[in-house]
């Protein structure tokens, strides 16, 4: 089963176009934001990327209109693939949890360092790096 020889479930060219461009825009925005040097844009960027990948995973079971993910009439092929929906559910839960952890960590780092830069410019020759310079 490959993309090329299963065209029948691809009912609507418009939906295809909208979904594909939505994934593209989300990914582009996510990558752009991840390349910032501050934590807040990076977190937003990772969130956008995870939205993009969720939609992408969802569409990996073919786009279909008016089809439930359950088998109603045996053998007539009027159901959509339930597996990607289960996968995307797992992915959503995981990315939600990870974003929460990341926000807490970023907050912790911000409060400790009093700045939210992602890159560290460590002083190579400082005597004791682990100690707080404020104290």
């Amino acid at each position: 089963m490959t993309l090329a020889n299963t065209p029948k479930t691809w009912r609507s060219a418009e939906m295809e176009l909208i979904i594909a461009s939505a994934i593209a825009v989300l990914t582009a925005g996510g990558v752009y934001l991840i390349l910032r040097l501050r934590t807040f844009p990076v977190i937003l960027g990772l969130a956008l990327l995870s939205y993009a990948v969720n939609v992408f995973l969802f569409s990996s079971g073919r786009l279909a209109i008016d089809m439930s993910p359950t088998l109603s009439k045996y053998g007539d092929g009027t159901y959509s693939d339930p597996l990607p929906q289960a996968l995307v559910l797992t992915a959503i839960v995981i990315s939600f949890g990870m974003t929460a952890v990341l926000v807490m960590l970023a907050l912790g780092a911000f409060l400790e360092a009093e700045e939210d830069r992602i890159d560290i410019v460590a002083d190579e020759d400082a005597e004791a790096p682990a100690e707080d310079p404020r104290s």
């Binding site: 089963m1 490959t2 993309l3 090329a4 991840i34 934590t39 990076v42 990772l46 990327l49 995870s50 993009a52 990948v53 992408f56 995973l57 569409s59 990996s60 079971g61 073919r62 597996l83 990607p84 996968l87 797992t90 992915a91 995981i94 990315s95 949890g97 990870m98 952890v101 990341l102 960590l105 970023a106 912790g108 780092a109 400790e112 360092a113 992602i118 890159d119 560290i120 460590a122 190579e124 020759d125 400082a126 005597e127 004791a128 790096p129 682990a130 707080d132 310079p133």
Partner: protein, 507 residues
């Protein structure tokens, strides 16, 4: 059905919440529970190794669903070996963390530690690539907690980089899985191995893209160029026992490459078999170079060790990238060796650094037990650099011996040999500055802070890793025979597929 196979996942998974909730404020109780759990895990891992030694591929079907529909755990020689490696390392690291009281410098060390073990064991045992993703996330989220254990500005900032890097990697993993599912309709490793060769070469470009994406994802875990740059910062700033445990985390990435790209995309699959040679091989060579230069340029002890880890991952993956049975055997031997060598260096560095002011490579008046630490450092550095008599030498020798194709000799041999030389110089410089030059300094009357002597319990884990490295060298023949059988089983793809999918064995 053998229920033992799922125990390495279930045991830490049950223990971790109990430690986290019930023994939250009682560090003694948490220590006892965590130690007992890890010891049982070690016993189970030994049992699984004995079970897998018969050469069969044991399959555990969760919920008893047949393979491509349900999730399976697969136990063969390779996964049994990796689980055992994890259990031994975990026990050593745990003993060190308890003896040095690292675990008491923040909350939830033991709960996170057990969750980490659950994720690692699960990743080694699973036979489903989406399940592999889930276990990756489990081990990562636990590692985020362990990485920032006991806090501090530098550590939190380095931890943030580590988390961001790995979250981006996870997203890429999902993209790869989506692409793979869209083009094959399955995510079971054995089922993939069956379906991918059926796809005509001209339509297989999506599978090829997925295979390359997966290599990049695993390369993030294995710290391969160009996605290696998170490792030195993370390992150098993590608590040292955690860095020692992370020695197995990079190996998870290497294991995933070995498993997925041998069984599913492996040799003989026209559309994806050259991915290793195209992507992995040059990246591994550059990784060795980066590791060597980093060791030479490091001005602190922890980054020095971290860069030597990068170099050893390069050596490991250059052997993996050949995807031949001989080279994979060498890679597995080197994998076992480098796990313990890395752990040994980090545990020792912890003992040394906590008795000095920081880990800067600068001569300071000698601390207590200078001679003992110097001797241990000498042994550990010999192991890491790959000099006889410890197992690093044999590991590198096996890798060099396996990669004797005239086309690869100039690159591989040059990289590994010159890289080893740089590592030796780097470690020699660090060791002589830290331990030798110190003895030439005058001891000021009152300037030296009185440091506590390391007790036997604190030194024992470090000595244990060195003893394991020595045993690995002494019993190299026995180990190599087991690894050879492991590789044979790994490359017997038909056997794996028929065992997992429950098909009749051909022939």
């Amino acid at each position: 059905m053998m229920h033992w196979i799922i125990l390495p996942v279930v045991l830490p998974a049950m223990l971790a919440p109990i430690i986290g909730f019930v023994m939250r404020y009682d560090i003694t109780l948490a220590r006892v529970a965590s130690l007992a759990g890890t010891a049982v895990l070690l016993a189970v891992a030994i049992g699984l190794l004995v079970l897998a030694a018969d050469g069969e591929t044991h399959v555990y079907r969760l919920g008893n669903w047949p393979a491509p529909f349900g999730i399976v755990l697969v136990l063969d020689r390779l996964s049994a070996l990796m689980v055992l490696l994890t259990a031994i390392l975990a026990l050593i690291v745990l003993l060190h963390a308890i003896a040095t009281e690292w675990d008491d410098r923040g909350l939830h060390f033991h709960a996170l530690f057990q969750f980490q073990l659950m994720g690692i064991c699960g990743a080694f045992l699973t036979g489903d690539i989406f399940n592999l993703f889930v276990f990756f996330e489990v081990l990562l989220i636990a590692s985020y907690g362990l990485m920032i254990h006991s806090g501090g500005r530098e550590r939190l900032q380095a931890g943030l980089q580590y988390v961001v890097m790995n979250l981006a990697g996870s997203t890429l993993f999902l993209f790869a899985l989506g692409t793979l599912y869209a083009s094959t309709g399955t995510l079971n490793i054995a089922d993939l191995a069956l379906r991918i060769p059926e796809i005509p070469q001209e339509e297989a470009s999506l599978v090829r893209v997925a295979s390359m994406l997966l290599i990049i994802v695993f390369a993030v875990k294995a710290a391969l160029f160009p996605v290696q740059f998170w490792l030195p910062g993370t390992y150098a700033n993590a608590p040292a026992p955690v860095a020692a445990l992370f020695a197995i985390m990079t190996k998870v990435g290497a294991y995933a490459i070995i498993r997925v790209h041998t069984v599913s995309f492996g040799p003989g699959v026209g559309s994806t078999e050259d991915v290793g040679a195209i992507l992995l091989y040059p990246a591994a060579i550059i990784t060795i170079a980066i590791g060597a230069l980093g060791v030479l340029g490091a001005r602190r002890l922890m980054p020095l060790i971290a860069f030597s880890v990068v170099g050893s991952m390069g050596t490991l993956l250059v052997a993996v990238s050949a995807f031949s049975p001989l080279a994979t055997t060498a890679a597995l031997y080197y994998l076992v060796h480098s796990t313990f060598a890395t752990a040994c260096l980090f545990l020792l560095a912890d003992l040394v650094v906590t008795r000095r002011s920081g880990d800067l490579l600068k001569a300071q008046p000698p601390t207590v037990q200078n001679g003992l630490f110097a001797a241990l450092f000498f042994a550990a550095a010999i192991a890491m650099a790959g000099m006889p008599p410890l197992s690093g030498f044999l590991g590198k020798l096996l890798v060099l011996d396996a990669l004797r194709d005239p086309g690869v000799i100039p690159w591989v041999w040059t990289a590994i040999l010159v890289g080893s030389l740089f590592t030796i110089v780097g470690f020699a410089r660090a060791g002589s500055t830290l331990f030798w030059k110190s003895t030439a300094l005058d001891i000021p009357e009152d300037g030296v802070a009185v440091t506590r002597q390391a007790s036997a319990a604190e030194i024992a884990p470090t000595v244990a890793t060195i003893a394991i490295l020595a045993l690995l060298a002494v019993f190299a023949g026995t180990v190599a025979n087991y690894l050879e059988a492991t590789t044979l089983q790994l490359f017997d793809r038909a056997g794996y597929i028929s065992a997992v999918l429950g098909l009749p064995v051909e022939g």
